[in-house]
């Protein structure tokens, strides 16, 4: 906790801390975003549900309230203007068209940016927010008002409604009512009694039961509840459904339903409501029943409840009710925990994990003595039990860090929508397996790479409409994301039905860009050709488009995924489409590594990037001139290429460049030191670990290999941050040793590009 937070906590007991406010605000924005996506989808079916719009409206209203408490200023202003737009949309003052949806989505993005800036303590992105505020104001002026009263033509007074009810309807309710009756829906009035204690549940049930049948315009308390513990509500419902269906849906609630007809359809009742507005409703109802003008259906409270529900789409009804319930339960049973606290617990468990080692030592010394051998056995049993329990605690804690992938999917859906609009393509985004759980940090770090892949797929993959028509493909392209768990890994597949890639074309392009030599190109197989897209600087576009094609990105995707201990694979068929498969560990916290020793220090190499390990035969090492490619890259990076000669090992028909891990990591020996032995002399009998990255494959020489292990990676202390250029972290290997976790991607990159400012010792030694 910072001083400021501590201060806030002390000065305002019971209030949310800023961090909690931010988390809550972000949650509200996320929820609003999901609802907007649902609304957009419903709108494209021509069925813009007022319920969804209402949900967004309420979410933003809550956000506005929160912002007012914690962050008066831009956030509050934006929330207010956004709410105004939503209000206009609800009231039909502004049509809910593509433009309005764009503005709504843009608002969600801006809320996100603004909240992130506040959280990071950065200045608020004022120009961006101001631009959006201006756009909001413009849209309201341009679109709004003009035909605001187009539904006013319908005279509500011509329905047999109690004017007292009409008088208390809000503007929104009146608008919905006008719209509904103007479109030919029928109007019903129902009375239902709820116990005060369960009023919220009751209303929720009522909504659920009517959701597919009609729309509830308003609820008004009649004020004559039978006793102090219950309340009678008068409900106005508009619907196209037959009255029997509505009555059946409301029956379990004990509601009394009647249709409200137009006055001109009916004979004037003996006592017209207009003349006798204030009279007793019961009498009114009785009158109506006697005259037979309105159909009155009184349903008793049936003990069976749902069983009697004669609704056509029963399954659907039941599910949505269940979902609502689950949501409600989730709200109650969830606590928000700062990830730092979980990490703190993990650290404690890490310490706890050391105890069995100490016990094991004690055990073996007790075993030496015949008198204490039995105790040693007892101790051994206790130790194993301790180990088991520690293991359970560890997996329990790791489980609390898991969140569903759905968070990312929402952002991707928004991105696809936006990119498709910008590039004037039609794309459907289908996501399955969004409930797959991943480590919280992994989900966050997966977002950028996935956004990039999605952007590429829509921009490069999906063809323009005309092309698709010519190829007799469906005009609307499909981008499908599928996530599933596979053992200890999570697989995320992203597949498009776009143009696909020709392996030969990729190789030719890479040669053209000077990324590989023509000789190398000839040796490339199908899979190697596809992996060329991950080379830095690779692009298939002659000119950069507005969205992609600058040749940056895919290599970053690969690097980011590798940094998470994952891999990316590409498969593609020309004119059929491309598929990217991301394989990731379920949690960042446990990383599978190969433990090696070099220069007396223990290192951990992430297994995901390793190909094989074999003993080094020093006599087989050859020297070879450095390939042109490396020099080319170095020149592009504006660096001197320090190495002329490279030690290589003939390995599987290609020379494998060698580099000792110690030399790669630790600073080069003092320049000009004549005692520096040549690499060949320094190569001790050891092992070669082959690290494979797209277009880069090197043999890392280590002194010893200690086997494979799952480790909990800890970030390096801030005092060692300069080491983060080559280390991904450190770990307690459990036997009093620290393992330094190597960022293999960075190390290999550095080796290939030879981008270190200091000349390599190898180059010096050749000059001497």
């Amino acid at each position: 906790m910072t001083d400021r937070e501590t201060e806030a906590a002390m000065s305002a007991p019971g209030l949310l801390l800023e961090s909690e406010f931010l988390a809550e605000a972000q949650e509200i924005v996320d929820a609003a975003s999901r609802t907007l996506l649902a609304l957009d989808e419903a709108r494209s079916r021509g069925d813009a549900s007022p319920l969804l719009l209402g949900d967004v409206f309420r979410a933003v209203h809550t956000l506005k309230g929160l912002a007012g408490l914690f962050r008066p200023g831009l956030l509050g202003t934006l929330a207010h203007e956004y709410e105004e737009l939503l209000q206009d949309l609800r009231l039909g003052r502004t049509p809910l068209d593509g433009e309005a949806m764009d503005l709504l989505f843009r608002g969600i993005e801006t809320f996100g940016v603004l909240l992130a800036a506040i959280e990071a303590g950065l200045p608020e992105p004022e120009p961006e927010v101001r631009a959006l505020l201006a756009a909001l104001a413009r849209s309201r002026n341009a679109l709004g008002r003009a035909e605001s009263d187009h539904d006013g033509a319908v005279k509500l007074e011509s329905w047999a409604l109690d004017p007292n009810i009409l008088a208390v309807l809000t503007e929104y309710e009146e608008h919905r009512l006008r719209l509904a009756v103007a479109s030919g829906q029928r109007l019903f009035r129902a009375e239902v009694r709820f116990a005060l204690a369960t009023l919220d549940d009751g209303i929720e049930q009522l909504k659920t039961r009517l959701i597919d049948l009609g729309e509830i315009v308003t609820y008004l308390p009649t004020g004559d509840g039978a006793d102090l513990l219950s309340i009678d509500l008068e409900i106005l419902v508009v619907s196209r459904a037959p009255v029997d269906l509505l009555a059946a849906a409301l029956e379990p609630l004990g509601a009394r339903l009647e249709e409200v007809r137009r006055r001109d359809e009916t004979l004037p009742p003996p006592a017209a409501p207009a003349e006798d507005a204030g009279r007793d409703r019961d009498r009114d109802r009785d009158d109506a029943a006697e005259t037979g003008e309105t159909r009155v259906l009184r349903a008793g409270v049936s003990p069976g409840g749902d069983k009697h529900l004669a609704v056509a789409d029963e399954g659907r009804e039941g599910r949505s009710a269940g979902e609502r319930n689950e949501q409600a339960l989730e709200r109650v049973a969830t606590v928000r925990v700062a990830i730092d606290r979980i990490d703190g617990l993990l650290d404690v468990v890490g310490e706890l994990g050391l105890l069995p080692f100490a016990v094991a030592r004690l055990e073996s010394s007790l075993r030496q003595n015949p008198l204490t051998r039995r105790e040693a056995g007892e101790l051994s049993r206790l130790r194993r039990s301790l180990e088991r329990h520690i293991g359970r605690i560890r997996s329990g804690i790791l489980a609390t860090r898991m969140v569903p992938l759905a968070q990312v999917v929402d952002r991707l859906t928004r991105a696809v929508r936006q990119i498709a609009r910008e590039s004037e393509k039609q794309v459907t985004f289908v996501a399955t397996g969004a409930e797959t759980e991943l480590d919280k940090l992994l989900v966050e770090e997966l977002t950028e790479p996935l956004l990039h892949l999605v952007r590429n797929a829509v921009d490069h993959g999906i063809e323009a409409k005309a092309t698709r028509e010519r190829l007799q493909k469906p005009v609307v392209g499909t981008l499908a994301l599928n996530a599933f768990q596979k053992g200890n890994q999570v697989v995320v597949e992203l597949e498009d039905d776009g143009a696909g890639m020709h392996p030969e074309a990729l190789v030719a392009r890479a040669i053209g860009l000077g990324l590989i030599s023509p000789e190398e190109g000839r040796t490339y197989g199908r899979n190697e050709a596809f992996s060329l897209v991950f080379l830095p600087g690779f692009t298939t576009r002659a000119e950069a488009g507005p969205l992609s094609g600058r040749g940056v990105g895919m290599d970053v995707v690969k690097t980011n995924i590798a940094a998470l201990g994952g891999t990316v694979e590409v498969e593609s068929e020309p004119d059929i489409g491309s598929k990217f498969t991301l394989t990731l560990p379920i949690t960042l916290a446990v990383l599978q590594v190969l433990v090696v020793v070099a220069d007396g220090t223990t290192f951990c190499l992430p297994l995901a990037n390793l190909e094989e390990v074999f003993p080094l035969d020093v006599a087989a090492v050859r020297r070879s001139p450095v390939r042109e490619m490396g020099r080319e890259l170095a020149r592009e990076a504006g660096r001197e290429f320090g190495r002329e000669i490279q030690e290589v090992l003939p390995h599987r028909d290609a020379p494998l460049p060698l580099a000792p891990l110690g030399t790669l990591l630790f600073d080069a020996p003092e320049a000009g030191d004549a005692r520096t032995p040549s690499l060949r002399e320094r190569l001790r009998p050891g092992f070669v670990v082959v690290a494979n990255f797209p277009g880069k494959r090197i043999g890392i020489v280590v002194d010893g290999v200690d086997g494979q292990q799952g480790i909990v990676v800890k970030a390096l202390p801030a005092a060692l941050r300069s080491a983060r250029s080559v280390l991904a972290g450190a770990t307690d290997l459990g036997d009093h040793r620290i393992g330094l976790v190597v960022d293999l991607g960075a190390v290999v990159d550095e080796f290939v590009r030879e981008a270190r400012p200091r000349p390599s010792p190898l180059a010096l030694e050749e000059r001497l």
Binding site: A117, A120, L446, L564, T601, A719, V726, L727, A730, L740
Partner: protein, 171 residues
């Protein structure tokens, strides 16, 4: 003029071989920052760090950064023949609160920030005493603070300053 005094603080007094005059120098560490005094176990060298950082060691499962005070203060160059820390000597472990943003190379966690307590260990030759000293409010902010002790003046060192030294120019 009598210097302004603040409330006295408790410090641990340590000596370090190879001071400016080749003699033992006295250094003071605030006791409220000091977590404990340990004999550093096996030290793991870390690549690409300032030469004054000797490496990492484990203290009950936590990573501790070990700093060579002599090198950090630039004294090592004066007496290169002296061992950086005699094998039987001890290290004083200081708790330091560092603020850290997650690695920007990984891109995604926008502004993700956390604060955590990190442990730093300073290698010293001997702990010679613990005492209460008074601090003077000095006119020059940022200047290293000198405190009066029963053994003479001592420099007061803080964990934050040691964890993040001002960058020296690379040759």
């Amino acid at each position: 003029m009598t210097p302004l005094m603040t409330a006295p603080i408790e410090v641990a007094l340590c000596t370090l071989l190879g001071g400016i005059g080749g003699e033992e120098e006295l250094w003071a560490f605030r006791l409220d920052e000091a977590a404990e005094i340990v004999k550093p176990p096996t030290i793991t060298r870390v690549p690409r760090v300032d030469p004054s950082i000797r490496g990492l060691f484990l203290l009950r499962g936590r990573l501790v950064t070990l700093i060579d005070l002599g090198a950090r203060l630039g004294l090592r160059r004066l007496h290169p023949e002296l061992p950086w820390i005699a094998p039987q000597r001890r290290a004083i472990v200081l708790a330091h609160v560092a603020q850290r943003r997650d690695d920007p190379r990984l891109g995604a966690p926008r502004g993700h920030r956390r604060e955590e307590q990190e442990l730093l260990a300073i290698g010293v030759d001997a702990i010679v005493g613990v005492e209460r000293v008074s601090r003077e409010l000095r006119a020059v902010p940022g200047a290293s603070e000198l405190v009066r002790t029963s053994r003479g003046p001592a420099f007061l060192l803080g964990a934050a300053a040691l964890a993040f030294p001002t960058r020296r120019e690379e040759p």
